[in-house]
């Protein structure tokens, strides 16, 4: 990897802003490409989640940042320093393992204090710091317990403490909530987020749970088959996905193939031969102006509603209700149109029944076009 002048300048500049930089990183295991030419910049003090299905390379990427794997190609920089060849025990990262990996032959004190002891800190000071840490995560009484005597939630906090006590530049978390019961999970989501804010440290988390990612992250990087499809704040990736994969992964959506008829900065007209013509109002970040031909129109179910007043919605389709499901706060409909099925969500209870004809619609700002 040749180091050109331009990238040297760039890396010096990004030193100030980005704690982690991946530069065209690839990782192969034999013939299998786990991570494929990934470039990523993580801003200091932010909470980034690597999100994707099993096998997409997110865990490998995390381990690459932590130093437990070495890249086949590319560079990794942490706080501006090239750590590509640096072993994990010399990197300023710490990892909270998926199953916590708490040392079974040590009690809580020695587990949490392990890293400090490796640095040569004296026993008494280690004990003080561990106690402080335990108070911070609200586990003051478990100091001398063996790790197999703790509950799942307690073990997670011990694992967190063990990593955080070393004050790493970047904290890595591998499916941090995966081993917890559903009840505790929601609580922990907020707690983790608060902890990160309080410490203003960079956190990078890995998960396959999109709800978890959306709740906790400042930015989400969605991965598929070893490469990053999109990086951005939760609302951006949700409302303005760059690909079909991202749109589908983050929640239910309706995808309709359309043809671009007219394309201007503030208004795009598309057409689907059987369903009609539709209007899309892009916002100022809309990049795909030059893209002509076929695109995918995406509308999220919660943005579609049953039309009563013809004039309030520029986009309308007529159809028949195929199924409806009352879910308490919302009702989900599947409407069959002349070409495709459309899913929509409406607040409250419905007045309609299966088989009823219905007109559904959405606003021009509530849809999106994907190339």
């Amino acid at each position: 990897m040749r180091h050109s002048k331009a990238s040297e300048v760039e890396s010096r500049m990004s030193q100030q802003e980005h704690d982690v930089v991946l530069d065209q990183v690839s990782k192969n295991f034999g013939n299998i490409v786990a991570v494929d030419d990934v470039s990523l910049k993580v801003r200091r003090g932010s909470f980034l989640t690597l999100l994707g299905p099993s096998g997409c390379g997110k865990t490998t990427t995390l381990r690459l940042i932590g130093g437990l794997e070495f890249p086949t190609r590319g560079r990794i920089l942490i706080k501006g320093q090239d750590v590509t060849d640096t072993p994990p025990y010399k990197r300023e990262t710490n990892l909270v393992f998926q199953d916590f990996a708490l040392f079974p032959h040590m009690n809580v004190l020695n587990n949490i204090g392990f890293g400090l002891r490796m640095r040569g800190v004296q026993k008494r000071e280690v004990k003080e710091k561990v106690q402080e840490m335990l108070d911070l995560v609200e586990l003051p009484d478990v100091t001398y317990r063996r790790t197999n005597q703790l509950s799942g939630g307690q073990r997670q906090r011990v694992a967190l403490s063990r990593a955080l006590i070393l004050e790493p530049a970047v904290l890595l978390l591998d499916e941090p909530l995966g081993a917890l019961d559903a009840k505790i999970r929601k609580q922990m989501q907020t707690e983790l987020k608060n902890l990160q804010r309080k410490l203003s440290r960079t956190f990078i988390s890995v998960t396959h749970d999109q709800e978890e990612a959306m709740t906790m992250s400042d930015e989400i990087a969605i991965m598929n088959n070893g490469h990053v499809e999109q990086v951005g704040p939760p609302h951006v990736v949700y409302e303005r996905p760059v690909s079909r994969f991202v749109a589908n992964f983050l929640g239910d959506c309706n995808l309709i193939e359309v043809e671009v008829v007219e394309s201007r900065p503030e208004r795009v007209v598309v057409r689907e031969p059987r369903l009609g013509t539709f209007l899309f109002h892009p916002d100022r970040d809309w990049q795909n102006l030059r893209h002509q031909g076929n695109m995918l129109m995406m509308i999220r179910p919660e943005n579609i509603t049953i039309v009563e007043d013809h004039h309030s919605f520029p986009n309308k389709i007529g159809g028949r209700i195929k199924t409806l499901a009352f879910k308490g706060s919302i009702t989900e409909y599947v409407v069959e149109t002349s070409w495709t099925e459309i899913k929509l969500q409406v607040q409250g209870r419905s007045q309609l029944n299966q088989g009823d004809p219905v007109l559904i619609g959405w606003k021009a700002e509530d849809c999106y076009l994907i190339p």
Partner: protein
Amino acid sequence: MTSKYLASVLRKKLSDQKELVGLLPITGFEIFFYLVPLAFLLIISFWMTKDYQPVPIWNLQNYRFVFSDPLVRVAFFRSLIITLTTLVLTILVAYPFAYGMVFKVPPKYRQLILIAIIAPFWTNYLVRAYSWQLILGGNGVINHLLLNAGFVKTPLSILYTHIATRIGLLHFLVTVMVLNLYTTMDNIDRSLIEAASDLGAGPFKNFLWVTFPLTLHGLAVGTVFVFIFSFTDFIAPSVLGGGTKPIFSQKIVDAAHWTANYSLASALSMAMILVIGIFLLLIFRMVRAVMKEEK
């Protein structure tokens, strides 16, 4: 810049292989102190011995002696017979024991039985052979009981015959065979036996057609160990069998210890390895043939 790149590539390759470094000491040790001596032994079987030292005069004299000398031949056949009879005895004694252990004894006692079987296994083989002298000797336990009970008039001479040798070997090998059979038997899928039973096979037929064939693998492995051990053992025949009817391993020791004819001793050793090799081949063929028949 390129040198830095090359250095990092090299470092990566090395760190990948770094984990194998731990194998170097043991591999080096075994190569130098195990493989080399064996290879050297093979070489000197083609040499001659002068003044108690092997000298590199290449010849086939040693092998000619091994294959033609009548005493060697007698010792060989004696060893073979003892080995084969011991093998049969061991199987007969060990098999029902292993079977009982797996199929008849409640699981909670199995650990106990396993430990009880293993414990005597680890005792000093030499002392064990000697202890049989106390039992089998002219003044020993058995003769004493028989004389007192009036079953015999004069003491039986069991000791210093190869019957005693067989007993000594059996004592050690039963455990070996049981352990081998036990593992195989334990891994048998019980539902196969139940299925056979459901289809109408009585306990004996069930055993013959279902259980037994499934144990053949463990039986074969055990047989190999038993054969090798019995054929090559020196201690049991010497301590219990007496010196009058030498067996093959004793011939090797004679050549090495008493006459210091190392090249002859190594030729005899190679012949011993050859016999073992032939036996392994036979067993392998047999097992394969039986497996094919099953299909």
